[in-house]
Symmetry: C2
């Protein structure tokens, strides 16, 4: 394994955790992108597509389809932003908040399980590295 590379380790961890997460949330029948979107919206704050795109690292063209499905499902609403009528405020509905809470719970549990033996210092190092990586593009 080429685990000395920061980026290869990142890819590997992403794929493995995504599979674990979709399996843990199988009863909600969500795709990885839908899970990611709900987890980001879970704080209850409204966002527009551009902000969600930055938060998830997903392109707006991809988010259109993801949001279509979440909206059709009654989890998310798109409302015209009166302040800038080119954009929408994305907001969770009641059922959307319920689903998002389950997603966050699964995320939290997976993190707690995986990271049980690690120190705060190691976690701080992790966050410093991923923050630096995410700013390359």
């Amino acid at each position: 394994m080429v685990s000395d590379s920061v980026l290869l380790a990142l890819q590997r961890a992403t794929h493995h955790t995504l599979q674990a997460l979709t399996a843990a949330l199988a009863d909600l029948d969500l795709t990885a992108s839908e899970i990611d979107t709900l987890a980001n919206l879970a704080d209850g704050r409204s966002r527009n597509v551009r902000e969600l795109s930055l938060d998830t690292g997903t392109r707006s063209t991809t988010l259109t389809g993801v949001l279509d499905r979440l909206e059709r499902r009654g989890y998310v609403t798109r409302e015209l932003d009166p302040g800038d009528r080119r954009s929408f405020r994305l907001t969770l509905t009641g059922p959307g908040r319920t689903a998002a809470r389950k997603v966050r719970a699964a995320v939290t549990e997976l993190e707690a399980t995986a990271l049980a033996g690690l120190s705060a210092r190691q976690l701080a190092g992790y966050h410093a590295v991923v923050s630096a990586l995410q700013e390359v593009s």
Copy 2:
């Protein structure tokens, strides 16, 4: 941004770095999975599909298509493993090694740029966390 979550930060960093990497390697005309596969094979060691699947976190059904394209392109060969004739040894060809070297160079450069200001201790923390995450599934 919900940057306090280890998993959300992981997703975000993955998407952003993948876009930067495919852009940096645009002249090779490779997809993200092809880049990941070449980067993993770049050490010159032969692997079978199962090992590559563990290294990348990608399913074997997905790898079949990725390897088909890399093979058609003359970058990778599949040879029956005499020791276990259910599986193949995947090996880079000459042109494959050249492409893989470019991929690794781009990976290395991106890492060097992004992580310039970080300490060895922070990097060690990062590796501890991603290793722990990758073992959840």
